[in-house]
């Protein structure tokens, strides 16, 4: 099908459809680039700290290259039309995270602490498990619409995962937030990271069925569409659930992530701005209400409002019974001393942050050693992953896939916002991990699975449409017989 237009100056142009290319070779080239950058960073850290190229450089490069290569081959085989950017972006972030975790392993100050373990080799192992899960998702999830069948099962699974840290035998409360569970012999696990994916599946399946009722049955009041009382049910249930997480697990981040994801998906499903307004109001009410009696959250809020006071209190024992932490102030100093171009990899003092420097606060190390320029680049890499996710949602042909892709990329974006905003002092700090970069097995594994599902949806969305059904007009034309 082509059409021609004649403008008055007789420029003639032909407009024709182009089939979607598979873009696997673009992906391979970008992946090579995405492996070379962290290897460069690794060498840079070694040269800066020890004056020599680190001995593990070859092993590290081969390890990361193998992960990327296996991921790429799996995509080439099982999702040939998938988005070419997601895998390289995730690989680059994972690689940079590994380098910075290794760089913090070299810090003598952190090595002196009681709880020190070599984090980088473990993180490489977790990354390998994550890529294995990605490959498994691509192999066993032939069509993302299968997930639709498990709408309510995934709701139950998500609730169970969320409640797990409260079960006495499993619970492993750490630093005030109860979001970890102990698996004997294996270590700790953060089930909330996996609940994120299960909840996205549930919300997508639920909203696909209910969105018409939620979108259309409403009254107009002051320019807003007010939903009917009974349609408020689900949002109230999710709200109560996230408040309960906040109260019993004292984790602002997880609570915000789930409620925010639901509001985003509700907005996308119904196109009603009123849901955003309701969501913001409800989360504000909930957060303020809970903060009025929960001391752990009060500490976080006061550390956010006045980090310098918190720093002074942590330095001078005052016996008010509360735990004070200098982390927030140290993170801000790290960003400040980084300036525009940073101090250079391996040459900062972000190890002053203490024990969470390689997990919750890892962005501060980027801020100090790569400066504003580096942090902007990192945030853009996250932005590109989210953009590709939303782009996948736009291209998807089925409503369930659209909602699932929006939900997953929305959750990803919210998580980055909550962590980066917390570390930079924009919002109160919460214990969440920066996806792919921060040290933490659950987070890395769950996020690779998330990328796997997005790749599957984008493969289905970008696959050339099947040949159209035979034209009903093609039936035989009757012949006039003279």
């Amino acid at each position: 099908m082509s059409s021609t237009t004649n403008s008055p100056t007789h420029h003639t142009s032909t407009i024709g459809a182009i089939g979607a290319p598979s873009r696997r070779n673009t992906e391979l080239a970008l992946l090579l680039f995405a492996v070379v950058i962290p290897v460069f960073a690794y060498a840079n850290v070694g040269l800066a700290i020890n004056d020599q190229v680190p001995a593990g450089l070859l092993g590290y490069g081969i390890g990361l290259g193998l992960l990327a290569g296996i991921g790429h081959l799996a995509v080439r085989k099982f999702a040939p039309y998938a988005d070419p950017l997601m895998l390289p972006l995730a690989t680059l972030l994972n690689g940079l995270g590994l380098v910075v975790i290794w760089r913090l392993d070299q810090s003598e100050k952190l090595q002196a602490s009681k709880t020190f373990v070599e984090a980088a080799p473990r993180q490489l192992l977790y990354s390998a498990m994550g890529v294995a899960l990605l490959v498994a998702v691509l192999i066993f999830l032939k069509d993302h619409r299968v997930l639709q069948r498990y709408t309510y099962i995934s709701m139950a699974a998500a609730l169970f995962l969320l409640v797990m840290p409260l079960i006495p035998g499993l619970s492993a409360p750490t630093y005030g937030a109860k979001i970890w569970i102990k698996i004997p012999g294996l270590g700790t696990l953060q089930p909330g990271e996996f609940a994120k994916i299960a909840l996205a599946v549930f919300f997508a399946g639920y909203l696909m069925v209910k969105r018409d009722a939620l979108a259309l049955a409403s009254r107009r009041f002051m320019g807003l569409y007010l939903p009917r009382g009974r349609d408020l049910g689900p949002i109230l249930v999710v709200w109560v659930m996230s408040i309960l997480i906040l109260v019993f697990e004292t984790d602002l981040g997880t609570s915000l992530l789930f409620f925010g994801m639901f509001v985003i998906m509700l907005y996308v499903a119904t196109e009603r701005t009123s849901w955003i307004v309701f969501g913001l109001l409800m989360s504000a009410v909930g957060a303020v209400g809970v903060a009025s009696f929960e001391s752990h959250i009060q500490t976080r809020v006061s550390a956010w409002l006045d980090p310098m006071r918190e720093y002074t209190l942590s330095r001078t024992p005052n016996g008010d019974g509360l735990v004070h932490s200098e982390q927030a102030m140290q993170a801000l100093w790290a960003f400040g001393s980084g300036g525009t171009l940073g101090t250079g990899l391996g040459q900062g003092n972000s190890d002053l942050i203490g024990f969470a420097a390689n997990s919750d606060f890892i962005l501060a190390t980027f801020g100090e050693e790569l400066g504003l320029a580096g942090v902007m680049a990192i945030l853009l890499l996250y932005g590109l992953i989210v953009e590709r996710g939303v782009r996948t949602a736009l291209a998807a042909r089925d409503p369930f896939g659209k909602l699932l892709a929006v939900g997953l990329s929305g959750a990803f974006a919210l998580q980055v916002f909550v962590v980066a905003g917390g570390v930079m002092g924009l919002i109160p700090l919460t214990g969440m991990t920066l996806p792919f970069v921060a040290y933490g097995g659950s987070s890395v594994i769950a996020n690779w699975a998330l990328i796997g599902i997005l790749l599957r949806i984008s493969d289905t969305a970008r696959r050339p449409a099947p040949a159209p059904a035979p034209n009903p007009d093609a039936e035989m034309t009757q012949v006039v017989r003279p």
Binding site: H10, N44, P88, D473, T477
Partner: protein
């Protein structure tokens, strides 16, 4: 390690990181597939030749506005269906190609067992003269009483018969 080397590495690393971001954005830009616009012949003469060549070979389905100056004084302004199930239908002639047939994407969809899917088309040549062309139909297209074999100019008011349908051009 010297200060200079480390500074070079630091700035080099930032440059490489940003290069990756820029390359990724370029990939997105080239990924916006869907339509491709090919410019052909920028000059007036070239444009005309191309247009004439296309009309002779395989004219496209639709055509934009012809230049206003090309309209003849005596030119027909509408196409009227005078017999058949669509009797009374008129289509304004604005320089576009009109396709007739049973196919859904025809300009005039004929509900007629004796018409082919893509039966005939009516289009203006570069002088604004309207031409009817049979597209290899089973039962043929008739201008007055003669079956068409080549693209033929349409006189005003002459009946064109396609199956049970008759159309004509009017001022």
């Amino acid at each position: 390690m010297s200060e200079l080397t480390l500074t070079v590495m630091r700035l080099g690393f930032l440059a490489v990181l940003w290069l990756f971001v820029i390359v990724a954005v370029q990939v997105i830009r080239s990924d916006l597939f869907g339509t491709r616009v090919t410019q052909r012949g920028s000059r007036r003469e070239a444009g005309r030749q191309q247009q004439a060549a296309r009309q002779a070979a395989a004219p496209p389905q639709q055509r934009g506005q012809q230049g206003g100056g090309r309209q003849r004084r005596n030119a027909p302004s509408k196409l009227v269906v005078s017999e058949g199930t669509l009797t009374g239908t008129t289509v304004a002639l604005q320089g576009q190609t009109i396709t007739l047939g049973r196919a859904h994407d025809s300009t005039i969809v004929l509900d007629d067992d004796y018409a082919s899917s893509r039966h005939a088309r009516i289009y203006p040549d570069r002088d604004g003269q309207w031409i009817v062309e049979d597209l290899g139909s089973t039962n043929g297209t008739y201008l007055d009483r003669t079956r068409l074999t080549t693209p033929t100019p349409i006189p005003l008011g002459a009946p064109i018969r396609i199956g049970k349908t008759v159309i004509e051009l009017r001022k």
